[in-house]
């Protein structure tokens, strides 16, 4: 194998990694502000992927355009879930919150299994096999478009948190919960908004991911774990860390698939997770406490 094989695999890994990163960004935002760990993250993404497949198959809409309505739909779902189901658990012990979201994840996975059946579903777009040639490098068009879309959504989210008044209020809640209550911020609404933003990322990422692979109901837990791995490697609550770690995981999985056996690639990310938890539990870009 020559270097250009590696270069192509690495570029593919970076592009896929950006989409992973967007999904993980959602988890990171939710944890960073609401302090709830969304154990149903991948399951929500799986549902978003099915909706993208359905939308594409029924109306023939390009999944990249479906990104917008799916993000909106998942936002509403996340908002409702946080304010109706999760919020009453804010004062409960951690494990109760975990188990609550594990239950939500089980319901989503098996609901999808009953509705869609166990078989893999995918979409066909006419540019599926197109690629850009740049010297010896071949860049898949779908991957490139998906990655650019992921960057755009992530940038919009950054801008929302940095620039808008609501975004600033949300960050104030994250920094000082009691202080936010004292100055009269509607914490319940802000938390629900944040949860919605997090799940909106998942909706957008799901629309992109159907371009890169098929969806089955059992995909949920695997993506939840992937999101955790990325977020912990990047640092729980760090937005930039999620994107960087997404790329890191994307590249290392792609390389592992090339050097080892493809089916062993997620072992590399779990190995990475274990190492990071041991030696740098705050993550690569996380703030040390």
């Amino acid at each position: 194998m020559t270097w250009d094989v590696y270069a192509n695999v690495i570029i593919g890994g970076i592009l896929t990694g950006l989409v992973y990163g967007l999904m993980a960004l959602g988890l990171s935002v939710i944890f960073g502000v609401v302090r709830v760990v969304n154990f149903a993250h991948g399951e929500m993404m799986m549902v978003a992927m099915y909706l993208a497949v359905l939308g594409c198959g029924t109306w023939g809409i390009d999944p990249l355009w479906l990104m917008v309505p799916l993000a909106a739909l998942l936002f509403v779902f996340g908002y409702a879930l946080q304010s109706l189901v999760v919020h009453p658990f804010m004062t409960r012990p951690d494990h109760a919150q975990f188990m609550l979201l594990v239950a939500v994840g089980m319901i989503l996975t098996n609901g999808a299994l009953i509705v869609f059946g166990p078989d893999a579903r995918g979409v066909q777009v006419d540019y599926a096999l197109d690629s850009l040639e740049w010297g010896p490098l071949l860049i898949d068009k779908v991957r490139l478009y998906a990655a650019l879309a992921a960057l755009a959504v992530a940038a919009a989210l950054f801008a929302f948190f940095r620039l808008s008044a609501t975004g600033k209020a949300i960050r104030a809640c994250a920094d000082n919960y009691r202080g936010a209550l004292v100055v009269g911020l509607d914490v319940r609404r802000l938390f629900a908004l944040t949860f919605g933003c997090g799940t909106a990322c998942v909706g957008a990422a799901g629309a992109m991911l159907v371009l890169l692979g098929d969806v089955t109901p059992s995909l949920g837990p695997a993506y939840t774990l992937l999101a955790f791995v990325i977020v912990i490697v990047g640092g729980l609550g760090s937005m930039a860390g999620a994107l960087v770690a997404g790329v890191l995981i994307g590249v290392s999985e792609a390389l592992a698939g090339l050097i080892l056996v493809p089916s062993m690639k997620s072992m590399v990310s779990f190995g990475l997770l274990i190492l990071v938890l041991m030696f740098r539990p705050q993550g690569l870009l996380g703030r040390s406490s």
Partner: protein, 333 residues
């Protein structure tokens, strides 16, 4: 120290005796279907009791307990298939391996101060890591699975644990009762007091001279060893095992449902929860079958809904409230 039995009113002790006699006689009364359901319930009662030691007593949330069950299954099955070593010798070896694995994960986590959500994720990561790894070990059958030689049904061979459901029923009944007694002993001795203290407030526990690290690692090792024995029994009962079924995340969740539904940290909770859940899910399956529906995800969907409702409306599980109503106030919690 007669917390559980001695302090019970005579009426309750009589009821307990009736339940026990019924359980002993069940294989001779129940048909094959009901027997298989009872085997399943006892299995979850036992493995739930094992998980409860770690979470209910010591307060460490393991979401990867399938790792230890799977290790027990694979170690004993591999010893039997490849080495001709029977389960009675295989089980202690499997338990030792699992205890070592539990202690090693506990050692790593607790030495580096990993707690809460990070610990839960670490346990999932180790279980998934092992699952994928085992899928690539051809000697253990890879992803396709490992199979134990099957003998004709009805032949009873206690030495190699070859036999029908009755054999496994009694085996699991013995394990469920044995684990109940073991957990009761642990709970009422120093180690149990220390575990509960650590669960309730680690800083305060430390100030009272409790070595947190030592007792947490002990909980992980004991819980893992107990769980692995369930794997041994399952391997010889089903005669086949795959990495996905043995170490999968769904398995880990099934293990913890019983204690959560029955009552976390109580002795009766895991048993009660296992019987309630198994009964309900079998009832649901029978209902779906009767109405001609085939739904592969129905049981799991049902578990998800039950879990959601229990966590929301019965945060302490069924048992504490039931015990109060029956006038047997259990003070574990």
């Amino acid at each position: 120290m007669n917390r559980l039995f001695g302090a019970l009113p005579a009426r309750a002790r009589a009821a307990l005796l009736v339940v026990f006699v019924l359980l002993l006689a069940a294989p001779w009364i129940a048909g094959p279907y009901l027997l298989s359901v009872l085997v399943l319930a006892l299995y979850y009662a036992y493995v739930g009791q094992a998980w409860n030691v770690m979470m209910g007593f010591a307060g460490q949330l393991s979401l990867g307990h399938a790792l230890y069950v799977g290790l027990g299954a694979y170690v004993s099955a591999a010893l039997y298939v490849h080495g001709g070593i029977g389960p009675w010798l295989g089980a202690p070896i499997a338990a030792a391996v699992a205890a070592l694995a539990g202690a090693a994960i506990g050692f790593l986590a607790f030495r580096f101060g990993i707690g809460g959500v990070y610990f839960a994720l670490l346990t999932i990561a180790f279980a998934e890591f092992t699952r994928i790894g085992f899928e690539h070990i051809d000697w253990l059958g890879g992803a396709g699975g490992l199979f134990l030689p099957v003998v004709e049904r009805g032949r009873l061979d206690i030495v190699d644990l070859r036999g029908g459901p009755r054999l496994f029923y009694y085996l699991l009944l013995a394990l469920a009762v044995g684990s109940l007694l073991l957990c009761r002993t642990l709970r009422t001795s120093r180690i149990g007091f220390y575990w509960l203290a650590i669960r309730e407030d680690p800083d305060a526990a430390r100030a009272l001279g409790i070595d947190l690290f030592k007792y947490r690692v002990l909980a992980a090792a004991i819980s893992a060893a107990m769980a692995s024995v369930a794997g041994v029994v399952a391997a010889f009962y089903y005669n086949s095992l795959t990495p996905a079924d043995s170490f999968g995340a769904a398995k880990s969740i099934e293990i913890i449902l019983g204690p959560l539904v029955g009552g976390l940290g109580t002795l009766i909770g895991p048993i009660l929860g296992a019987f309630v859940l198994t009964g309900l899910s079998e009832g649901l399956r029978a209902l779906l079958d009767a109405t001609g529906h085939q739904m592969p995800g129905a049981t799991q969907l049902f578990y998800g809904i039950v879990l959601l409702l229990v966590i929301k409306y019965l945060p302490n599980g069924i048992w504490p409230g039931l015990a109060r109503r029956l006038g047997l106030v259990e003070r574990e919690r």
